[in-house]
């Protein structure tokens, strides 16, 4: 069964039509990578999945349930999101960043939430940073904390919006390693990325978007190594130097 079903998704900002009818499914434990040039609508599509942007038309089903304004908070607890700019809460320690939502949204007892947070920090290799504040962390460390924060809600789906684009090059690897580990653990993942290497290695499916539509899709091998569409070829020739 599909974890995410996107049906005829449209999104306009004023008169600018950013998404022009997207249909896409993501299955359980599938890793979908979205690639494409800036302004192609890939981030908007990702943000529509958890209604950070409200679709202008079309439907999103999560786990078979239609997403509406009424059930969105409940549905968001099943979906973790990781942002390009990390968006950690600067007034909280790393540990508090991770435990805040489980405690306040799910009502998990504090001790339990902290135990789990420590385990997650261990998993992303940052146990020693539990009591630090985000601003004392490097970009790569902040993004790993952000991933741990999202995982603390026990999501079934993880959404990544260009998670490595704001990082210094030498920190990209540590974040990608954590994401690879997640993919192996069987989470469904949707990743907007410029990291073609990651898409090739970890993606089950790759879609190439341009000007608000899906131009081409298939396995990473098909789309990235043997593209059929002219636009895909031209894009890839410029990124895969």
């Amino acid at each position: 069964m599909s974890m995410i079903e996107i049906k005829n998704l449209h999104k306009s900002f004023g008169s600018l039509e950013v998404l022009k009818g997207i249909d896409q499914n993501v299955d359980e434990s599938e890793v979908l990578c979205i690639v494409g040039p800036s302004g192609s609508g890939k981030s908007t599509m990702l943000r529509c999945i958890n209604h950070l942007e409200e679709p202008t038309a079309g439907e999103i089903y999560i786990d078979g349930e239609l997403v509406t304004e009424e059930n969105i908070n409940a549905i968001r607890t099943k979906m973790g999101m990781v942002f390009q700019q990390f968006n950690l809460f600067p007034h909280m320690t790393v540990l508090e960043n991770i435990t805040c939502a489980p405690i306040n949204v799910k009502g998990v007892p504090k001790a339990e939430a902290e135990k789990k947070a420590m385990a997650l920090l261990e998993r992303v290799g940052l146990s020693e940073k539990a009591s630090s504040y985000p601003k004392s962390l490097s970009g790569g460390q902040q993004q790993r904390v952000a991933i741990a924060r999202a995982l603390a809600m026990d999501p079934e789906i993880m959404l990544f919006d260009e998670p490595t684009s704001a990082l210094d090059p030498e920190m990209v690897g540590e974040v990608l390693d954590v994401m690879k580990d997640l993919a192996k653990s069987g989470l469904a993942m949707v990743v907007v990325t410029h990291e073609m290497g990651f898409a090739k290695e970890v993606g089950d499916k790759v879609i190439f978007m341009d000007e608000g539509v899906i131009v081409e899709q298939g396995t990473p091998k098909e789309v990235l190594e043997n593209p059929q569409e002219e636009r895909t070829k031209s894009f890839l020739s410029k990124v895969l130097v």
Binding site: G80, F83, H91, A101, V105, M153, S165, F235
Partner: protein, 247 residues
């Protein structure tokens, strides 16, 4: 010289009242101001308008007029309806009026603070399943308060000076002490110089304190911005390269 010192000392006797009224008013103002700011930002148009009307009315009328309405107007109105209402102490309407006045100004300060918090913070909070209210309470307001602390300090300094108009409705604070001494002795110049000095020993250290705090915060913010900028360069770089691709 002795007269100046006497005038100053007499004015200083009003300091506990001036500071007390200002402190309580600023506390009321902060709490009500937060409430009005949230109402003002409400997506419900009616609620937003009610808050807006309150803010506009209060900010659009002089404090001294508001003080007369509360101290004398309201008791008179209630008496004409057959009640026996009288303020037991004039300082009560004085505190109410200063609190409400400060709330209106604070509401705009708080609104500015809330809007100054990065939009990504709300998005991160909402993406974790928090309701709008939870995101406000746990994530946005704590950060907004830090941003507006200097403005609240300045509001307190302003309020200390503004409370001088309460002397007109009979509250015996710094200004009123000076006026009474002048009436009894005709040492007009000395009396009001004394009053001015009494306000200055309150406001100048306070403003300096606020200024120091502001500088410290600006330095911190700059530090964070440098980190962000170094990230920003990378973002810019990626954007440019993919921009070329799109072309």
């Amino acid at each position: 010289m002795a007269k100046y010192i006497q005038g100053f000392l007499i004015a200083c006797k009003g300091i506990p009242t001036t500071v007390g009224v200002s402190l309580i008013a600023v506390a009321i103002g902060a709490i009500l101001g937060l409430a009005f700011a949230l109402l003002r930002l409400s997506r419900n148009k009616v609620i937003s308008w009610i808050a807006r009307i309150f803010i506009d009315v209060v900010r659009g009328t002089p404090l001294v007029v508001q003080a007369f309405i509360f101290a004398y107007g309201i008791p008179k109105l209630l008496q004409s309806h057959g009640t026996n209402f009288k303020w037991p102490y004039l300082i009560i309407p004085a505190i109410i009026v200063c609190g409400l006045n400060s709330a209106a100004y604070m509401a705009e300060i708080v609104r500015g603070g809330i809007q100054a918090v990065d939009k990504g913070q709300t998005e991160a909070a909402r993406s974790l399943g928090m309701t709008h209210k939870q995101a406000m309470r746990l994530i946005i307001i704590p950060q907004a308060i830090k941003i507006i602390l200097p403005a609240i300090g300045n509001e307190f300094v302003t309020l200390i000076k503004e409370t001088s108009v309460l002397s007109f409705v009979g509250v015996i604070e710094v200004m009123r002490r000076g006026t009474l001494w002048n009436a009894a002795t005709f040492n007009t110049f000395e009396a009001y110089i004394g009053v001015a000095l009494a306000y200055m020993i309150l406001t100048i250290p306070l403003s300096k304190g606020v200024g120091y705090f502001e500088k410290k915060m600006a330095a911190e913010a700059k530090e964070e911005k440098t980190i962000k900028d170094s990230n920003g360069q990378i973002v810019g770089h990626v954007a440019t390269s993919s921009g070329e691709v799109g072309a």
